[in-house]
């Protein structure tokens, strides 16, 4: 019974994360002295999360992306995430090269590249150990 409840609520994770990010935007912009923009950012994230929940009822793909119960849609999600990461890596590398060519330090792209590289190596090691 507990497993059923846990599974049935899994689809809420992404919308809740979206709202949490909206709250983080609100706090950050309020601290920066721009509370109106903060409220607007929160409203956008709440609307986005609500749209996801509504779309879940009409789209098998959105439903699968949210609850991860369909292995094919989960595999599509994984591949899309990997391609997104490749695009970001390419942007970071190009931006880093452009910065150092201009005689700058390469910050923050050097740090982003470092974090990405370390994350990849650690993940490969962990997944190999897990089998």
């Amino acid at each position: 019974m507990q497993t059923t409840i846990k599974t049935s609520r899994k689809y809420l994770a992404t919308p809740i994360f979206g709202v949490a990010m909206g709250v983080a935007y609100l706090v950050a912009l309020s601290v920066a002295g721009q509370p109106v923009w903060g409220v607007l950012a929160l409203a956008v994230m709440v609307a986005f999360s609500g749209a996801l929940l509504l779309a879940r009822r009409r789209s098998e793909t959105v439903k699968g992306l949210l609850d991860h119960r369909d292995e094919r849609i989960s595999a599509i999600d994984l591949r899309a995430t990997a391609i997104t990461a490749l695009a970001l890596i390419a942007v970071i590398l190009v931006a880093f090269v452009v910065q150092i060519a201009r005689g700058q330090s390469g910050w923050p792209y050097s740090m982003l590249g470092f974090v990405g590289g370390v994350t990849y190596v650690v993940t490969v090691i962990c997944l190999r150990i897990r089998g």
Binding site: E60, T61, K63, G64, R69, D70, E71, R72, I73
Partner: protein, 72 residues
């Protein structure tokens, strides 16, 4: 779906139609999306071993009776 030098075909559509089920019916029984059933039937997606076993069990058959690896 290409798996190395082999390709996996399946008889899911024939078995489903023989049982008088729609893709949506079968998807609901297997707890996957209708799109996934369609992709499996058209050989655009090769299911994982657990899902292949679930499909075989649903039709009361073995995995080998439904899924066929064609070695090139």
């Amino acid at each position: 779906m290409t798996l190395g030098a082999s390709q996996v075909r399946n008889d899911v559509r024939e078995r489903r139609v023989a049982k008088g089920l729609s893709q949506a019916d079968l998807a609901q029984r297997l707890d996957v999306s209708r799109q996934t059933i369609n992709s499996i039937e058209t050989d655009r997606y090769t299911p994982s071993l657990p899902l292949a076993i679930a499909i075989a069990r649903f039709f009361g058959m073995t995995v080998e009776e439904i899924f066929h690896a064609d070695h090139n």
